[in-house]
Amino acid sequence: MLRERYINILILAGLVLIPAYAYFAEEPFTITLATRAVIFALAGVGLNLALGQGGLVSFGHAAYFGMGGYAMGILASHAQNYEPIMEVPFLIEGTNSMPVIWLVAIVMSALLALVIGALSLRTSGVYFIMVTLAFGQMFYYFTISWPAYGGEDGLSIYVRNQFPGLNTLDPIQFFGICFVILLAVLFLVDRINKSPFGLALNGAHQQEERALTVGINVYRVRLVAFVISGAITGLAGALFADLNRFVSPTMFSWQISGEIMIFIILGGVARLFGPVAGAALYIVLEHFLGGLSEYWFIYLGAILLFVVLFAKGGIIGGLSKKETGRAG
């Protein structure tokens, strides 16, 4: 456990030092890459709560990622065009304030996760995997064919949204915002994992019968975890949209759901920092393998396969030589 803690600190240090170096070396793109890694890590941390702690293999987290993205896209595009979102029964205006957008993204994706979770959690095992996948696809097709917000074209936001006191267009400052959010969420999720709720969630994952017979309403525990998980991934979606200043239905695609799962497995399932390490590795692979070969997905596939088959604990598991990832 101690060793894992050092590895975690090392990962965080890397995430700070690399952009800091890039800042002084004037390589802003490296900062953009680091920001991307941080945002993906955040999405992964969200999914990991459901998947790692709760054993809820959601193959449809792109739905919340996309919902967060569209929360940003819709609010900011209305602010950009000075058109209110709705006037009846009461006036709702667009906004370009990041904190407001984050709040809306969290609430909207939490609500979506509540509906999808309430339905999907009636099933379990493979059904759950496939049902969440199908719900994600449903939203994918909906956003493509829904003309109001650009359909497949998506929405371009020309200027990054505002955060009081900061220049968000400056890559290092935007990185800072994302990094602080990641830290805050990591802290929060760590507390949740260790709380009675986290114990119940993990206990129900390991032995559902036992959790039931000690009087825990497993369905409700899972639903709450699913909602928190969706909300975090939704927040990541809003940040991702702001990073690209663009949203499109691809944020809802099942490949995104798959990628978020890949971050977790690469880093180590049910480890607090698993998705962080995994997302960072993914970005590094994408960047370097992508530069080496047009067919870099073959290598990515091979690495993923190797990790799943032979290195179950992911990077962190491999480094800390501890197979199981129960955060105690």
Binding site: R191, F197, A200, G203, E209, R210, L212, V214, N217
Partner: protein
């Protein structure tokens, strides 16, 4: 006879053509160990599920402490005070012994939806968990990961987790299974003590253990209770001898 804690009345449950529970009635009174025996396929596990939750009878009712619990979920029954142990240890194997016990305490305290205070630093939860571990002599093992416990120790932990609920009645499914003679004896003594706290409905295969500790015995055959009575009565009961003990002897 004192009022019964648990009362099963005329339960019926069919799976297609098979009648797994055919008008079963039985009760559990304070201070007793009531053993339920029966050959394989007699419908024991079906009956347990209908008492503990997870399976709804087609007809009949289950009452616990005067509450009608027939339609309740497993978790609701547990919160009313029905403690349960499983035939095959149902423990979170990745948890430590203490974590498993704390999980029980969390369920008991109804503090599931608390998100910030670490469970393993909560004095009330820890006290409840440790006192349960004390009672089954597992206190020294509290930091051991459950998957590393011996079989007998896991059975003890099962009981401890049930104890954290401070149950009003126990439902124990073959607690002696797979335990050596010595362990079995220790557990029997422990149950003799425990029954004064809360009566025990004991489903058990081990005949010697049943005859050694049960106050009353019910015999289930083909979904029907063919006899209920004291150890002596059951030993002497002709139908039981034919239906059950005869088979046992032959085997």
């Amino acid at each position: 006879m004192p009022d019964s804690i648990l009362k099963v009345s005329n339960i019926e449950k069919s799976f297609g053509a098979l009648k797994a529970s055919d008008g079963i009635s039985l009760d559990l009174v304070p201070g007793e160990i009531h053993a339920l025996i029966g050959p394989n396929g007699a419908g024991k596990s079906t009956l347990i599920k209908q008492i503990a939750g997870g399976l709804k009878p087609d007809a009949g009712s289950v009452q616990f402490l005067g509450h009608e619990i027939t339609g309740m979920s497993t978790a609701q029954r547990a919160r009313l005070g029905l403690g349960r142990t499983f035939q095959i240890s149902a423990l979170a194997m990745g948890f430590t012994v203490l974590e498993n016990a704390v999980l029980g305490a969390v369920g008991q305290s109804g503090s599931v939806f608390r998100f910030f205070k670490p469970a393993m630093k909560d004095a009330a939860l820890l006290a409840r968990a440790r006192s349960a571990l004390d009672r089954v002599n597992l206190r020294d093992y509290e930091n051991v990961v459950t998957s590393e416990l011996s079989h007998g120790q896991r059975r003890q932990l099962e009981v401890a987790v049930a104890l954290t609920l401070a149950p009003k009645a126990f439902l124990m499914d073959e607690p002696m299974a797979g335990m050596g003679g010595e362990g079995s004896k220790t557990l029997t003594n422990f149950l003799q003590e425990l029954k004064h706290e809360a009566p025990i409905l004991l489903v058990e295969h081990d005949m010697d253990a049943v005859f050694a500790c049960a106050d009353r015995i019910s015999v289930l055959v083909y979904g029907k209770i063919i006899a209920t009575g004291s150890v002596e009565e059951i030993r002497a009961h002709p139908e039981v001898r034919v239906a059950y003990l005869g088979e046992e002897d032959a085997a």
